[in-house]
């Protein structure tokens, strides 16, 4: 299932998808805040210069301008690093985009620790939480390049309101299949198991699959769910997993507060309470370093996931 031969950064898939979709849909416009080479919107800029708007280092203005495009019937994709897209322009997103429910696509790259050497100032670990709490805003974290392409198609066809797409800097293995559709509000079971469920998003899906392999050696059969759609959350699938496996572990390259783990815990607290262990960054800022080493240091490795599964199983036993 895991295609480890192919690997692609989700930002690269985004850049390519923009060019492809831009050729078909003339209503697409792209805005960037002086990071087009990094966010990969530069490809769209080269192909469709009349529909690309570099807004300079001015994220707040970029979001407002995107709102103006959307209010005029265009489908703007606004891109910059996740930390600036969500933090720097939060009130603009809240009041000029989410409140009026405008069809702006905020495609934010360089999310999470795997920004790497640029360090904490550039590592968004709170962006999912910030976006998820806004009414009308929907939040998607694709697991790989393939899924990014599908999310982009959905962003044009099915999603009518504002959408936050969280993308990464490093290459990630292809973990989703070519033929499975992406649907907002639907998670996907990538690997079945009956003892515990790991619900992951983004780069942590690949880590979760590796963890599941480790767990087999420990005699634990873990179900792995790719929950790219964080809002709306696939609540029914979450409840089904809670019922089937009795314990959950969430995995995200984000703070353990307010992200995927928060969403899953909120859902289950009201519908089917079972132990939920949240793997993520533990309420701290990141630092400079190679992405792989950062994931190790901050507890986001497959081994950390496997250990969390052990804790979840112990709790499950305790509450039996």
């Amino acid at each position: 299932m895991t295609d480890t031969v192919q690997a692609q950064a989700t930002r690269d898939a985004y850049g390519q998808a923009l060019v492809e979709l831009g050729g078909k849909n003339k209503k697409i416009v792209v805005l960037d805040a002086d990071l087009s080479k990094s966010t990969k919107t530069v490809k769209f800029a080269q192909k469709f210069p009349e529909r690309f708007f570099n807004m300079g280092v001015a994220e707040a203005d970029m979001m407002g301008t995107a709102a103006g495009f959307a209010a005029s019937g265009y489908i703007p994709f606004a891109s910059t690093f996740a930390v600036f897209a969500t933090g720097r322009a939060y009130d603009q997103i809240r009041n000029s985009i989410a409140y009026p429910a405008l069809r702006v696509r905020i495609a934010a790259t360089h999310a999470g620790l795997t920004v790497g050497e640029d360090g904490a100032s550039h590592q968004a670990l709170e962006d999912i939480a910030l976006m998820r709490v806004l009414p009308n805003m929907e939040v998607v974290v694709p697991a790989d390049g393939r899924e990014t392409v599908k999310v982009m198609a959905a962003a044009l066809k099915t999603v009518r309101g504002p959408l936050y797409i969280r993308l990464g800097r490093p290459k990630v293995p292809m973990v989703t299949a070519e033929d499975t559709p992406f649907e907002l509000g639907r998670g996907e079971i990538l690997r079945d198991g009956s003892d515990v469920t790991i619900i992951a998003c983004g780069i942590m899906v690949a880590q979760a699959l590796e963890a599941a392999d480790l767990l087999v050696k420990r005699g634990v059969r873990a179900r792995v769910v790719n929950m790219a759609s964080i809002k709306p959350l696939d609540e029914d699938l979450v409840v089904t997993c809670a019922r089937d496996t009795g314990a959950l572990v969430t995995a995200e390259e984000h703070s353990i507060i307010g992200g995927l783990g928060g969403a899953v815990a909120e859902c289950l607290a009201g519908r089917y309470p079972v132990p939920v262990l949240r793997v993520g960054v533990k309420d701290t800022f990141g630092e400079s370093g190679p992405p792989g080493q950062l994931l190790q240091k901050y507890g986001l490795s497959p081994r950390d996931l496997a250990d969390a599964v052990g804790q979840a199983l112990a709790l499950k036993e305790k509450f039996k």
Binding site: V29, M55, G56, G64
Partner: protein
């Protein structure tokens, strides 16, 4: 097109509506609504190509009230122009009313974008102007900023954008009434020299008496002829204009008149009508 005398009548009736609405609501922003009333009358009754029967017509001109707290003035002018029943004005700020404390585009026809958090309207207006250009539409975009609002950094980001993209289909006003919540703009955070600031940002700047309907109309005529630059019309206004006890008083930024004050204000606004 209504003549200036007729526009004056409309402006007076707008002012009466603003007083009645904010009094009925028991809250709201009469001062800055009264200062911007004349600008809105000229825009909505003379300048803009809009059709209340087709509020979503693709090629319509667009208006963005960046100083969203002047919502009572916007609502009054939209009602006067026929976008909705005048009776709705009585519901300002009440539960379930489409007349929210600050404009909500999803609740009220004629509101092109929800505003209220200051500093954001010019960016949105820029987006609309860029979109109009891309669509080869003859849409023109208008926006009004407050003078205190210019303290928001985003305004200057947007000022750069409009000039960089040579948005000559965009005309902005500053409702320069010199007052903000905590006092005069000079005391709180100086914004002068306003005209020079915008000129240095690459805008074509005009200055008018913001209560002289003919002058406002003339400035808009001139703005339409400017090529390659956005136009900023610095409108010198008086906060609370038309109601003597409100004029020039910062305290009337965000407090509503009592029924007694309302009656006093209405008497004055009626009086001016008779005096013409």
């Amino acid at each position: 097109m209504p003549n200036i005398a007729e526009l004056k009548e409309v402006a007076l009736s707008l002012r009466r509506d603003i007083i009645k609405m904010t009094c009925a609501a028991g809250s709201g922003h009469p001062g800055g609504s009264l200062s911007v009333a004349d600008i809105l009358v000229v825009l909505f009754f003379r300048e803009m190509r809009i059709n209340p029967d087709m509020p979503g017509a693709p090629d319509r001109d667009r208006f963005v009230l960046s100083k969203g707290h002047a919502a009572p003035a916007l609502y009054a002018v939209l009602a006067a122009r026929g976008f909705f029943r005048r009776k709705l004005l009585d519901t300002l700020r009440t539960l379930g009313s489409p007349l929210q404390g600050h404009p909500d585009m999803r609740k009220l026809p004629g509101v092109e974008i929800s505003t209220g958090s200051l500093g954001q309207g010019l960016s949105v207006a820029n987006g609309m102007a860029l979109a109009a250009r891309l669509s080869k539409s003859r849409t023109r975009v208008y926006t009004v900023l407050g003078d205190g609002e210019m303290q928001e950094g985003q305004v200057w980001e947007a000022a750069m954008t409009a000039a960089h993209y040579r948005l000559d289909n965009l005309t902005a006003f500053v409702d320069n009434n010199g007052l903000q919540i905590d006092g005069t703009t000079d005391q709180v955070m100086g914004v002068e020299p306003i005209g020079d600031k915008w000129r240095s940002f690459g805008w074509h700047v005009l200055e008018v008496d913001g209560h002289d309907l003919e002058a406002i109309a003339g400035a808009l005529d001139e703005a339409r002829e400017v090529r390659g630059k956005p136009v900023m019309i610095v409108a010198h206004t008086v906060k609370g204009k038309g109601v003597c006890f409100m004029e020039g008083q910062a305290d009337w930024h965000g407090s509503a008149p009592s029924p007694q004050e309302r009656d006093e204000a209405l008497k004055e606004l009626e009086g001016k009508k008779e005096g013409q």
